[in-house]
Amino acid sequence: MSTVDHSLDNAAMPLKPEPESFRYDDQIVRYFAYATVGWALISFVVGLLAALQLAYWPFNFNIPWLTFGRLRPLHTNAAIFAFAGNAIFMGIYHSSQRLLKTRMFSDTLSRIHFWGWQAIILAAAITLPLGYTVSKEYAELEWPIDIAITVVWVAFSVNFFATLFRRRERHIYVAIWFYIATLITVALLHVVNSVALPVSFLKSYPVYAGVQDAMVQWWYGHNAVAFFLTTPFLGLMYYYIPKAAKRPVYSYRLSIIHFWALVFIYIWAGPHHLLYTALPEWAQTLGMVLSIMLWAPSWGGMINGLLTLRGAWDRLRTDPTIKFLVAAVTFYGMSTFEGPLLSIKAVNSLSHYTDWTIGHVHGGTLGWNGLLTFGILYYLVPKLWNTKLYSDKLANAHFWLGISGVGVYMLSMWAAGITQGLMWRALNAEGTLTYPDFIETVTRIVPLYWVRAIGGLLFIAGFIIMIYNLYKTVKSGHVPEEQTHKAYALASVDKIPANELGHHAHRVLEGLPAVFSILTILAVLVGSIIEIIPALTMQEFMPRSTAHKPYTSLELAGRDIFVREGCYTCHSQMIRPTMDETLRYGKPSTAAESQYDRPFQWGSKRTGPDLARVGSKYPDMWHFRHMINPRDIVPQSIMPNYGWLAKDQTDFDSLTSKLSVMQTLSVPYSDEEVAKASEHAKQQAKVISDRLREGGVQDPELESREVVALIAYLQRLGKPSSDFVPEAVTAVAAGGKE
């Protein structure tokens, strides 16, 4: 057993005359490394399948749980929380122990974190394809899984902070700062955004509605990118680039400014996902301005990372780890340039709802998160198994395939997005739409969906090469015996001479991780409070329309089917106040129109047209045929068939519980409407079914089919109240007149 002696590092502050011995827990790092690679493969393959479905819709094989609307949330959750999540934990467990010169506080908590997280991912992988979803992007999981996430995150946090408190290194390196910000902010975002009232074991409604739900969701959604895909990876960058380059970070001063600026500013940027929507103008402007401000810290961080290689650039040619890390940081720079660019309202009016956004996020996840993770894996795996990388050539092949894949992906989606955005807004000299049929703007970009799939295929091919390379590396090595390290325990801050504290305020801050954590909380709370509180309390200032009535029970059932099938992944319900959108869809959407929408369904992508005013635009029969086979109506459509909706039964029994929960959430349902929810739904289903039968549909149980409920919902969109009035109410009204 070998020994590494760090005792001189803290010689200035010995508590005991003899240094303490300790060992690092690298087994947990190996676990997370396995999980990272395994879940990455799944998320990439699911992503490729989803991409292929947009190029050729039958790739869903007519299986509900393989259909795009259900697969897309699975892909995003797997990529963010399974692949990137496990990669973050792998790096945090490895680097934190070394930077803090101590073993993790509790091996048991480490294992609870690992197995708990894998169980959550498994639960997501089962429930999302089955349609159990809240439909809030990157927060789709239902309430029992949300609670499990909270519990596991608490276990992780306790373990991390306890490790921090018993560290043997007085100073907290900047990477640890980024980890602290991640732990605190992710907890805050998750808890606030996930507050919901359960209807049943796997169904709930958010407490927020409409514009408020949108505001809270994108405060969460954007900061999931910021504090799950950015800050922890920046922490990893600040640790692994110096390690791989064998050089200290270019400027430690810049890293401090980078940290505080990023943590302070990022939290405000969420509303840039809602530009030109019914969100109040002040919130949109605030989101845009703060997003543009992000250019400075993001590029400061990128430059700091890249310049760490000063004097070692030649290793770019020979060291695969360096190649991946440098390419990742370059992609970070590109993505963080593009993000603020897309947040400028003029640019966003073109890019939003198009594939440009898809290209942007994949530049971030594949280029930044993906390549950085691969670089760390190439660095860590040989060390964890005490051997050398099996093949540098294979790693180089992976590198070129990987960046080619990301490049092809981004270029194809930029081209698709800009093409589609320009076609949507194109007007003739007469002031009419040049491309009035939405499908024209879809068929034009389908070839680019094939090109995108080729990009994804290249990326996966490189990844599979990495799996083989790492497998051979592990096979050629062995799990080494744990080394014993030595370092002095720290004196507690109250034992540090007062005069020293006075002269070194920075040391006080660093010596008190609790104080540092509180400052971090304050930094994220300032933005959150100033942005969120007015949004949550402005209810009385919103132009609430009493003319808008809640959904009928059947419409609500249909809405839940709309949510379950993930229709929002391709159809928005938000008409922006622009000339072309008004010409194409009707007058701009208002906040009042979605005041009862739990969850809101504004969407973020238009693979198909906006549906905000689709109600009564087409007859019921049009919708029925369109759902069974969209190509009966629009021959070039790329929408999947939803044949199962004409076979599966609407869940009438749960409607009373659903309306009851809505009533608790202040939706103005009468007690009678709640009590007779099922009865009223069946009445409305009969009205729609009769019309469908007149159109030739022959199904004796048509009233109970899900497609009828969905049609009821679609026909309601854009209308302040339902066309349907329950029989008893009709009779009373008629009696009154008599």
Binding site: V4, D5, H6, D9, S95, R98, L99, E169, H171, Y173, V174, A175, Y238, Y239, P242, K243, K246, R247, P248, V249, Y252, R253, I256, I257, W260, A261, F264, P280, E281, W282, T285, H504, H506, A523, V526, G527, I529, I530, I533, P534, T537, M538, F541, M542
Partner: protein, 55 residues
């Protein structure tokens, strides 16, 4: 234009408070970090990830 942007913002004191916090925090932070005598400490901190390799 300003009145249109702020039409539905009913807590104007929050924007002033935010600006003050923002400006003062960043000014203090940058001045603190850029102090000349902090170079030695930052040099030490920058080498923390490399200690294991140097040991």
């Amino acid at each position: 234009m300003k009145s249109e942007v702020m039409r539905l913002f009913h807590m104007p004191h929050l924007s002033l408070l935010g600006l003050m916090i923002f400006f003062s925090f960043f000014t203090i932070m940058v001045l603190f970090v850029m102090q000349k005598n902090r170079g030695v400490l930052y040099d030490y901190l920058g080498h923390l990830p490399l200690e294991e390799d140097e040991a």
